[in-house]
């Protein structure tokens, strides 16, 4: 009997000792793995997985391995909230995602209350205006990107009248509100304001409205799958109105889905695997080798998120979940020091980013960079 007790005591000690030795960095990724945003979440997840694999192969962050678990929001903010609550109950080092702004909006207060840093893919302007000190972007907020898109439409496309097609969710509303303010400031007239639904399949009526508006150009701001469908409809109805978007309209997955209907579409993009930058080309090759397809900007976002965590943790010199947010605020990460960050980036006090951007046009199924817009500071 005493031998059994001895054996039990040894096992118990080992069980407590084991975690004390390993202390993995636990991350939870809450992403749109199904539903209308499946492209967004799947790409983000795949980018995360690639970065985690690379960093673990090189010894982890300060010697600690990263372990990431993925949860599906089903592109539904209610489900996202439940998944984030569940994730926070497991005390993650950092919370990753969601990608959809509507889901970020309802989950950010939970992470803030728990004091957990959240690195997400949402782009709605309001997300970094909520005073949340734990929320960080991986891409430009609409307040940074829309003025650039509007300026291009005014100066390069010489558009005086614009039709705005937007998706009726937090992402789309935020973008539409921001860009229409910019159009107003630049003296451009919005001759059609067309709202569409998330997950919408049929765009015949919306494209007919754009056609009937006789606008000089159309600004199209939908999520990925819907962007592909509307591009196909524009082609089907032989609409020649020049099309401009912001990131989503010309995403890699959108080009794949829309085929040659995507040719001619232009957009301001913050992240593209077609950028003429060595680190991005190399990332693209590694991603294609692991996942067998070319990632879109969401893949880059997921990848960057992990390297942001690495940079912040290395800055602190210790694995401290409470210090990640403070370490990120005001941090400039240079690609020369941290190649995984791909391009130099600075994070401000609100979690917004300052980074190089691009104006692209789709030609023969590929994004072609027309202009490079430098980092502001």
């Amino acid at each position: 009997m005493k031998y059994v007790l001895m054996a039990g005591l040894v096992l118990l000690t080992a069980a407590f000792a084991a975690p004390a030795l390993a202390q993995d960095i636990q991350l939870v990724d809450v992403a749109e793995l199904s539903g209308g945003g499946a492209t967004v979440g799947t790409n983000f997840k795949n980018g995360v997985d690639l970065a985690v694999e690379e960093i673990n192969a090189a010894g982890g962050i300060l010697g600690h391995k990263i372990v990431v678990t993925h949860a599906d929001t089903q592109s539904n903010p209610g489900v996202a909230r439940a998944q984030v609550q569940k994730a926070l109950d497991s005390n993650p080092y950092v919370l990753l995602g969601p990608g959809y702004s509507g889901s970020v909006k309802v989950t950010a207060p939970l992470a803030e209350e728990a004091g957990v840093t959240q690195i997400m893919g949402g782009e709605a302007a309001e997300l970094t205006r909520m005073g949340n000190k734990f929320l960080f972007r991986t891409s430009f907020g609409q307040q940074s990107s829309m003025p650039k898109a509007a300026k291009y439409m005014a100066e390069d496309m010489k558009a005086k009248s614009v039709a705005v097609v937007w998706v009726n969710n937090d992402f789309g509303k935020g973008g539409r509100d921001t860009i229409e303010k910019e159009f107003d400031r630049l003296g451009m007239k919005v001759v059609a304001d067309i709202s569409t639904e998330a997950g919408q399949a049929d765009f015949a009526a919306d494209v007919a409205k754009v056609k009937a508006s006789n606008a000089d150009a159309a600004f199209v701001y939908l999520n990925e799958e819907e962007s592909a469908r509307i591009l196909k409809e524009f082609k089907r109805q032989a609409v020649t109105t020049p099309l401009m978007g912001e990131t989503t309209l010309v995403g890699q997955k959108v080009i794949e889905l829309a085929g040659d209907a995507a040719n001619g579409a232009r957009a301001h993009v913050g992240l593209t695997t077609d950028a003429p930058i060595d680190s991005i080309r190399a990332f693209r090759e590694r991603f294609v080798k692991k996942h067998n397809y070319v990632p879109d900007h969401n893949g880059i976002k997921g990848y960057l998120a992990i390297y942001m965590i690495k940079a912040a943790t290395e800055k602190m010199g210790k694995v401290d979940p409470k210090g990640v947010a403070d370490a990120l605020h005001g941090l400039t990460i240079k690609a020369a020091d941290q190649p995984g960050i791909l391009m130099d980036v600075t994070f401000d006090e609100n979690g917004d980013i300052d980074r190089q951007g691009f104006l692209v046009e789709v030609e023969n199924g590929k994004q072609v960079i027309k202009q490079i817009l430098p980092k502001l500071h």
Binding site: L33, S34, G35, A38, T39, T42, N168, I194, S195, T196, E197, G199, Q200, A201, D202, A204, A205, D206, A208, K209, K211, A212, E225, A228, R229, K232, E233, K235, R236, Q237, A238, K253, E256, L257, A258, G259
Partner: protein, 291 residues
């Protein structure tokens, strides 16, 4: 004006697809009292079967043929033998509920085993447009409408002008008397399921290039086809045709002239009105049953 014309043409194209799916609904009901709540998913799956065959390296035309044959085997023969026959013994309602479960199972299976993301799908209809009354009308819309119409006309000719077709109608109208006069009723019912599978496979082939192949695309299609069948008349094939075309056009006009957010509400409101004031549908026959 040209905008209205565009909307009507593309509405007719979408409506033709709704009609194909709705005809299947009505045929299954008429011949075997089957209400198939998985009909929308039936119109989603063939595209994925074709994509799956295409992934083996087969050329597109072969993938279509093999995918269509697989659809007939799974959604026609297997569906009848493995689900309908065992459940129908217990009544119409248990079968209807079983098809709801089937709908969920099909959606989740495609999501799990193929992909949650949308997939591109090539079109068999020509690309480009033609100018009519000053409007550029898409050849794809014409093509979809033409294929759909050809299928419907072909089905009608089959039902009216061939011996097998008339036997199918006899089996639907009165199976007992049909048996007495020597109609192989069970074979005719199986043929209905096979025809339904062929119709949804065609609908899938026509609509997927527009809507993209996505595991959830059966939801809107199924709902639209169900409303079309009821509005047109659940016990008449021509009711499904009229209902389908009407819903297709109405949906487009509602999106353009009412609002995109409430477009679905317009056809649902029509459904309520029809159920309240003309439950047999626009061209359906009035039917009464003691329960």
């Amino acid at each position: 004006m040209s905008s209205l014309f565009d909307l009507v043409i593309s509405g007719l194209a979408t409506g033709a697809i709704y009609a194909l799916v709705a005809i299947g609904f009505t045929l299954l009901w008429q011949t075997s009292q089957t209400i198939n709540f998985a009909q929308g998913e039936f119109a989603m799956l063939p595209a994925f079967l074709m994509l799956a065959v295409g992934r083996t390296g087969a050329p597109f035309w072969l993938a279509i043929i093999l995918g269509a044959l697989l659809s007939v085997a799974i959604l026609g023969i297997a569906f009848k033998k493995l689900l309908v026959d065992p459940m129908l013994r217990h009544g119409v309602l248990p079968l209807a509920i079983a098809t709801m479960a089937l709908s969920v199972a099909m959606k989740e299976s495609v999501k799990q085993f193929f992909s949650a993301e949308a997939q591109p799908f090539p079109s068999i209809a020509p690309s480009g447009s033609v100018s009519i009354f000053g409007s550029e009308v898409s050849l794809q819309s014409f093509g979809v409408f033409a294929f759909g119409l050809a299928a419907v006309i072909g089905l009608n000719l089959f039902l009216e002008r061939t011996s097998t077709g008339r036997q199918m109608q006899a089996a639907a109208q009165n199976p007992t008397v049909a048996r007495i006069v020597g109609v192989p009723v069970e074979r005719m019912i199986m043929l209905t399921f096979v025809i339904n599978a062929a119709l949804v496979a065609l609908a899938s082939l026509l609509v997927t290039p527009i809507y993209l192949a996505k595991f959830s695309s059966g939801e809107t299609l199924g709902q639209a086809a169900f409303i079309a069948a009821i509005v047109g008349g659940f016990n008449q094939v021509r009711g499904a045709i009229i209902g389908g075309l009407a819903i297709g056009v109405l949906d487009n006009l509602a999106a353009a002239y009412v609002s995109t957010q409430y477009r679905a509400a317009v056809s649902l409101a029509l459904l309520i009105v029809i159920i309240l004031f003309r439950p047999e549908g626009l061209v359906g026959r009035s039917e009464e049953r003691t329960v």
